[in-house]
């Protein structure tokens, strides 16, 4: 349950690179749909131009699976003891 698997229309569904990439995301789970370019900032991950899609051979393309590990959200509001307050 701590893995959120998603498939948004706004995110590219295929890529010619079949490696696994891990990126950090600190925003809201419900805003991730519009955050693709803020997460994958590198030029090689830019959104494909639909007009140029025909020029790339489809045999080189791999399906992308996006997963968000949300275990880090748990207990994110733990109150830290005040360092200036005596124990």
């Amino acid at each position: 349950m701590f893995i959120y698997q998603f498939d948004f229309d706004e995110w590219p569904s295929t890529h010619e690179d079949d490696n696994t990439y891990i990126r950090a995301y600190n925003g809201s789970l419900f805003e991730i749909r519009s955050q693709y370019r803020n997460i994958f900032t590198e030029p090689r991950f830019e959104l494909p131009d639909e007009n140029l899609a025909q020029e790339v051979s489809s045999t080189k393309m791999y399906k992308i699976s996006y997963k968000l590990n949300i275990l880090q959200f748990v207990n994110e509001y733990i109150e830290q003891p005040d360092p200036e307050k005596p124990l």
Binding site: M1, D9, F30, R33
Partner: protein, 196 residues
Amino acid sequence: MVHAMQSINYLKVDPSNFVFFNFAGPKKLLQISQSFWKMTKAGPETDYESIFSLRVNDITLRELLLFQSLYVCGTQTDILNMVKDQPDPRVFFKTFLELDGTNMVTILSFDSRAMKVLLDEEMSHYFTPEYPLFYKSKIQKTDNKDKFFYRSAIDMAIENNQLTAAACIIHYITEFQNNYVSSYLFQNNLIKLMDR
């Protein structure tokens, strides 16, 4: 229709969610949804993505009498016997507005023995995985009837030191309610659970 009242806001997973009441058809659904911009040829349009739905049931006189009887039980053993005596356990899994949008299995989470009976594998054919059984509940404070607090069944089981009940609930969630929305039930209690 979109529900604008705050009384049901506790069901939202995130403050940005919307609550929809689909009560026109034979199936009364309470849907928690998230809006987003969908790009179309005509321009951006607002669309909604369902996060989870609850099926709200109309309470029958028999069910009302059963719940009344559970509330007047003197001991937990009496409650357990009443739970065991029911020919159809689905009455405990139904969501009712009369119970402030919760179900009896959540209310009974303070008792490990009742949870063991209700969430047993033998009951699995009564479970409906499309609607979550465990979600945040609104509970009236005993010392101030105008105020409420919001807890899940896991919180209530831990609060009452019923670790068997908590284990039964977690087993149910991992088997029948295993999606990212359920992770919010562990947001503030996972450390407590690990400590036990």
